[in-house]
């Protein structure tokens, strides 16, 4: 669900088919009948953007029919936990307690555990997304979470959930999603069946879930189901996030993201109590659970960055780390560029004029920059927007009016530089340098390093405080080869960490200290380079056929080369495997430690029957009992009810996409109440059911191309496999509009107009949504004007609008108009 796995992750789908060979049932729920659907045992058609209604229905089905895995969920989730008496569920109005209509945000006091405060497990570790705190509340180090294992307490999570999802009946699911109820029930049955000691089920999702204004809650809903069914932390279970770029996981762990420092440490925020390092650590360190170690990681990071200049006296350089003042993600970045706030920009191997939402606005924004550096292997669409971009071609922008100074620097590709990727399964894999990149092509490391060297030289004499971090930042890397490439091994070693005194690599993150004696760039990766000459990401030994099958000798999975997270849950509360068939990690009573086929994800020697002694106010892992597999969460339990960390509610709730053809059939609240909108003339949204925009559009990828498309549109033998932009239209709609296969059509929204050829197909179908016929259409977003396979830019249709938790855009579900013909000059 939310993923077209066979098309976009064919090799991952290889494993799905192998599971099928062993008897697995494959279910695909998707707006389009895709190549994944063709391989499914059950295909459930759902209208784009209605996934929470579907998943909520599954939760209701599981709870109503008592199909959940009791031994697992009672022990490993917070299903029995009692929530504050003041909590009010989202009833007909669709809003939870704590709603403030003026600020359009929630105050989360009433979502907390009764009398207790639960810090979030997300990168902002504060209990609330607003900086207010309930000082009277107890902490988890003072008492265990209040719970009722009989599940009778009216405010225990089980009862709250049952009430919350009562309205998500199969009939309602059909009304909202368009999925026939019998198909829906078949899915529920199949899912619920793959639960228990002997069986597990897995959910695979991708951007079909994240690209929504409710994306985080869609994934939450799946997490709830998987937790109820006992499908987390066990072999063949889990929620698999199929990510889209080679090291997109790596670029999240080692974030080139605004809101995080490496390994999920929050970026200091001017609006949070982050003024000093002490404040920051106080605010962000949780009393209980693994995140109690946060200070060690933060101080080690600062030591890695600022080296000798980082001292206890200057808070290890903490104040040099820039503070954010709001949302600095890509969507507001576009707006800020458009408004002239951002003056210069580096684009490093990305193609925002194709992949960015409201692509025309992106182009207009780029045209406002003073300077732009594009690093790519070819003249990408972004690099050439001023010359032959969509708006230049349409006559809406003229080259001579664009004052941006633009650099196109050729970049080297895989095989031309050494380094690591972190792939979707957290596997940190080294790739060798085999050849030298052609001509002036250089790596990003080279670019940043040599830019930094120049800047250091330019600021060497400066006495201004603002220039101190430039002077302080360490660049102690060996230079290699003809072009002085900074050594990737050295950078990876820094990421792994070392002891400051003797520069010895640390074996793993347990060796890190908060006293400045260790330096570590990326704590979760600690262990990837545990000694001077051992690069674990470069190990290439698979398991033998009779081996454990976890392939611990193949590359390095963070953290600690662990392949399955939360794998304490693969053993029952007493530490025994749930079954022989689903055995992974277990408690060895003789040796008094956890052992198994994978690296155990738990305190190595904490027995299953361990209970914290609250009289001693236990901290960190000592505060978690022996049955708490989810050690990154403050109470060690899977949060089927999320008391903190989410801006839009503790339980997933169906809201319509911002552009929707119908009124929300479930609640009065139409769309996500805290959705991030940027309403402006060049970024308008559609009214509910606007008759001008009756169809539901979804954008997607196809197997033959990659994302923004440069890396495939520039390769002839791939370009020919999907040579042009197309729009998939259901046969019935095509007949209504007299559109023939491969006829030209125009799709339009208030953001833009896009033309393409029609691909009339039975694979898309009309939906009956709340008694109204709604057509789902779809268009891949790979195409642009550069390369061999060209086509109009699908993202010219999309809007800048975002999920409140992740700032992720909503390009998978919006409404549009469709007509036969081509774009006429001067349209819109």
């Amino acid at each position: 669900m939310g993923s077209n796995m066979a098309e976009n992750h064919p090799i991952a789908f290889r494993h799905v088919l192998q599971a099928k060979d062993h008897g697995a049932t494959i279910v695909h729920a998707d707006p389009r009948f895709t190549r994944t659907s063709a391989m499914a045992d059950i295909y459930a058609p759902v209208r784009a953007g209605s996934d929470i209604a579907f998943l909520g229905g599954v939760i209701r089905y599981i709870l109503e029919n008592d199909l959940w895995f009791r031994d697992y969920a009672l022990n490993y989730t917070n299903i029995a936990t009692i929530i504050e008496a003041g909590f009010k569920d989202a009833e007909a109005d669709g809003l939870f307690s704590g709603w403030n209509d003026k600020t359009r945000s929630y105050k989360v006091d009433t979502w907390q555990y009764e009398g207790e405060e639960i810090p979030s497990s997300l990168s902002e570790h504060l209990p609330s997304t607003t900086p207010e705190r309930r000082e009277h509340a107890k902490r988890l180090s003072e008492a265990p979470p209040p719970s009722d294992l009989t599940l009778q307490h009216p405010n225990c999570v089980y009862q709250i959930m049952k009430r919350h999802y009562a309205r998500y009946t199969p009939e309602m699911v059909e009304r909202v999603t368009g999925c026939p109820r019998d198909v829906f029930v078949k899915v529920c049955e199949a899912w619920a069946k793959n639960s228990g000691r002997e069986r597990t089920g897995v959910v695979c999702y991708a951007v079909g879930w994240t690209h929504h204004s409710t994306g985080v809650q869609m994934i939450r809903a799946a997490a709830i189901i998987q937790s109820l069914l006992g499908n987390v932390g066990r072999p063949g279970g889990g929620i698999i996030s199929l990510r889209g770029h080679s090291t997109i996981q790596g670029s999240t762990d080692v974030p080139t993201l605004y809101d995080m420092l490496p390994s999920y440490l929050p970026q200091p925020n001017a609006h949070m109590p982050h003024a000093t390092l002490a404040d920051y650590l106080k605010a962000e360190t949780t009393d209980t659970g693994w995140w109690h170690n946060l200070p060690k990681y933060m101080v080690s990071l600062l030591k890695a960055w600022y080296g000798e200049a980082a001292t206890e006296a200057n808070q290890y350089g903490y104040e040099w780390v820039p503070k954010i003042v709001g949302d600095h993600s890509m969507l507001p970045m576009t707006v800020a560029m458009r408004d002239g706030l951002i003056r210069g920009m580096y684009v490093l191997g990305q193609n925002p004029v194709i992949g960015g939402s409201n692509a025309d606005m992106v182009q207009r924004a780029l045209a406002k920059l003073e300077w732009l550096v594009v690093r790519d292997f070819m003249e990408s669409d972004t690099a050439s927007f001023w010359r032959n971009g969509r708006l230049v071609q349409k006559g809406e922008l003229r080259s001579e009016d664009i004052g941006t100074e633009i650099f196109l620097l050729p970049s080297s590709l895989a095989g031309e530089k050494p380094g690591t990727y972190t792939n979707t399964h957290r596997l940190v894999q080294w790739h060798d340098k085999v050849v030298e990149a052609p001509g002036d092509s250089r790596s990003e490391s080279w670019f940043v390093y040599h830019l930094a060297r120049r800047l250091k030289a330019m600021h060497a004499e400066s006495t201004q405080a603002r220039d101190a971090p430039i002077q302080a930042i360490t660049l102690d890397y060996h230079l290699e080869g003809e072009y002085d490439d900074p050594s990737a091994d050295d950078i990876l070693k820094e990421m792994n960490g070392w002891t400051v005194a003797d520069r010895k690599q640390v074996a793993d993150y347990k060796a890190l200290k908060d006293d400045g004696s260790t330096a570590c760039g990326v704590w979760t990766y600690s262990g990837v380079y545990p000694s001077e000459d051992h690069n674990a990401s470069r190990s290439r030994v698979p398991d033998a056929p009779d081996g454990p099958g976890t392939h611990l000798g193949w590359a390095f999975a963070w953290p600690s080369n662990r392949r399955t997270l939360c794998n304490r849950a693969s053993a029952d509360p007493d530490g025994k495997p749930w079954s022989e068939r689903k055995k992974l990690v277990w408690w060895d009573a003789g040796a008094r430690k956890w052992i198994g086929r994978d690296v155990p994800d738990f305190s190595e020697t904490t027995p299953p029957d361990y209970q914290p002694d609250y009289t001693k106010k236990p901290k960190g892992m000592e505060a978690l009992d022996g049955r708490s597999p989810f050690i990154m969460i403050a109470d060690g339990k899977a949060a089927v009810f999320a008391p903190s960390g989410l801006k839009d509610g503790p339980l997933p709730t169906h809201y319509e996409p911002v552009d929707s053809p119908v009124h929300n059939p479930l609640y009065a609240q139409q769309d996500n109440p805290v959705v991030k909108k940027w309403l402006r003339p060049d970024n308008r949204y559609h009214e509910i059911g606007d008759p001008r925009f009756p169809h539901v559009m979804t954008t997607y990828r196809v197997t033959e191309h990659q994302s923004g498309g440069g890396s495939t549109r520039g390769v002839p033998i791939l370009a020919e496999l999907q040579p042009e932009q197309f729009c998939e239209i259901p046969t019935e709609l095509a007949a209504e509009l007299d559109i023939g296969n491969t006829d030209w059509i125009v799709v339009s929204t208030l953001r833009g107009e896009v033309e393409s050829k029609a691909l009339v197909t039975d694979r898309l179908r009309p939906f009956e949504i709340d008694g109204k016929r709604v057509y789902q259409i779809g268009m891949p977003y790979h195409f642009g004007w550069q390369g061999f396979a060209v086509g109009d830019v699908a993202n010219a249709l999309t809007a800048v609008v975002a999920d409140p938790n992740s700032s992720m855009h909503e390009n998978k579900a919006f409404t549009c108009a469709l007509r036969k013909g081509r774009v006429q000059p001067g349209d819109e």
């Binding site: 066979a6 098309e7 064919p10 090799i11 789908f13 290889r14 494993h15 088919l17 192998q18 099928k20 009948f33 190549r35 994944t36 659907s37 063709a38 391989m39 499914a40 045992d41 059950i42 295909y43 026939p180 198909v183 080294w430 060798d432 085999v434 470069r538 190990s539 290439r540 030994v541 698979p542 398991d543 033998a544 056929p545 099958g549 196809v702 197997t703 033959e704 002839p716 033998i717 791939l718 370009a719 020919e720 496999l721 999907q722 040579p723 042009e724 197309f726 046969t731 019935e732 296969n741 491969t742 050829k757 691909l759 009339v760 197909t761 039975d762 694979r763 179908r765 061999f788 396979a789």
Partner: protein, 298 residues
């Protein structure tokens, strides 16, 4: 999926050349001259990703040749040609309106995809037609056009009962799948089969492949896919008309024509003798008549 134990013999990151007998690791078979090799293409495992097309073109350095949307489902390749030796066909069968299929058979259903390729027929009409010996049967029992011999007469093109062989307008020679003759010589699995993510294309010794294909059909029948059958294995559709078996054979779930395959193709050369003899007999008969009719008065 278990990795072949021999993979553990190569723990290094950098090499000096290909892994010896790599096909043993990737396909479970060591390639030995004198034995028969082929492809078993199981359409029920095909996800239509076109890795075979891409891997084939990349390995064989074949150019892109069709840069336009066909509108024929996701098939923008159309057919096998001189520069396309693997072709994935796409057939949408989900139906329209209320007739849209709701039953999803296990494995591929309702949107059929099949990776087509040269069949490397046991009695290959192209080879039999070739007057120069450019087309020949290799030591791996595969059929290859030798580019240093072919003179572009083009006779193999209409001879092929599957529309596989094609003349290149660029170099004026006939081209088709070589079953990666060069790779086989180096102990490497053919590029398409090696790349195939779902093992829809399996490479191996023909006897082994036929055996596992029959097992697969039985397994599919047991799972309720009663329409599964082999095309090109001995005694099945495709292996007809004196062609013998096809070294590249298929598992299908719809009638062959749906995939653009002839249900009962024939070996073209079997028409040579009857044709020649009846022609000669006619001429002989007419010559005899002429002897009578032309009899002079001398």
């Amino acid at each position: 999926m278990a990795i072949h134990p021999r993979a553990r013999d190569f723990p290094q990151s950098e090499f000096l050349g290909p892994i010896p007998d790599e096909s043993e690791i990737t396909a479970g078979t060591r390639i030995v001259p004198g034995r028969s090799y082929g492809f078993f293409t199981d359409t029920t495992r095909c996800i239509g990703c076109k890795a075979c097309e891409s891997a084939c073109k990349q390995w064989n350095a074949l150019p892109a040749d069709n840069m336009a949307l066909t509108g024929d489902s996701y098939d923008n390749t159309g057919a096998l040609s001189a520069s396309t030796w693997r072709h994935v066909s796409f057939i949408e069968m989900i139906g329209s309106g209320d007739a849209r299929a709701t039953e999803m058979a296990p494995y591929q259903s309702n949107w059929l995809m099949m990776s087509d390729v040269c069949k490397h027929c046991h009695n290959a009409p192209c080879l039999e037609a070739c007057p120069t010996g450019a087309l020949f049967r290799t030591e791996f029992d595969t059929v290859v056009v030798q580019q240093d011999i072919c003179n572009g007469c083009g006779y193999c093109v209409p001879a092929c009962p599957f529309g596989v062989v094609d003349l290149s307008a660029v170099d004026g020679k006939a081209h088709k799948c070589t079953l990666c003759y060069d790779r086989l010589k180096g102990g490497l699995e053919p590029a398409c089969a090696k790349a195939c993510p779902t093992d829809s294309i399996q490479f191996g010794e023909i006897g082994d492949l036929q055996e596992s294909a029959h097992r697969r059909v039985e397994e599919l029948h047991a799972r309720g896919v009663s329409s599964a059958y082999l095309y090109g294995a001995p005694g099945t559709p495709g292996a007809t008309g004196d062609l013998g078996h096809l070294n590249a054979f298929f598992l299908l779930t719809q009638r062959p024509e749906v995939y653009n395959l002839p249900p009962a193709p024939t070996r073209a050369s079997r028409r040579t003798a009857p044709s020649l003899l009846s022609g000669l007999a006619t001429v002989a008969g007419l010559a005899a008549a002429a002897m009578v009719l032309l009899r002079g008065r001398a």
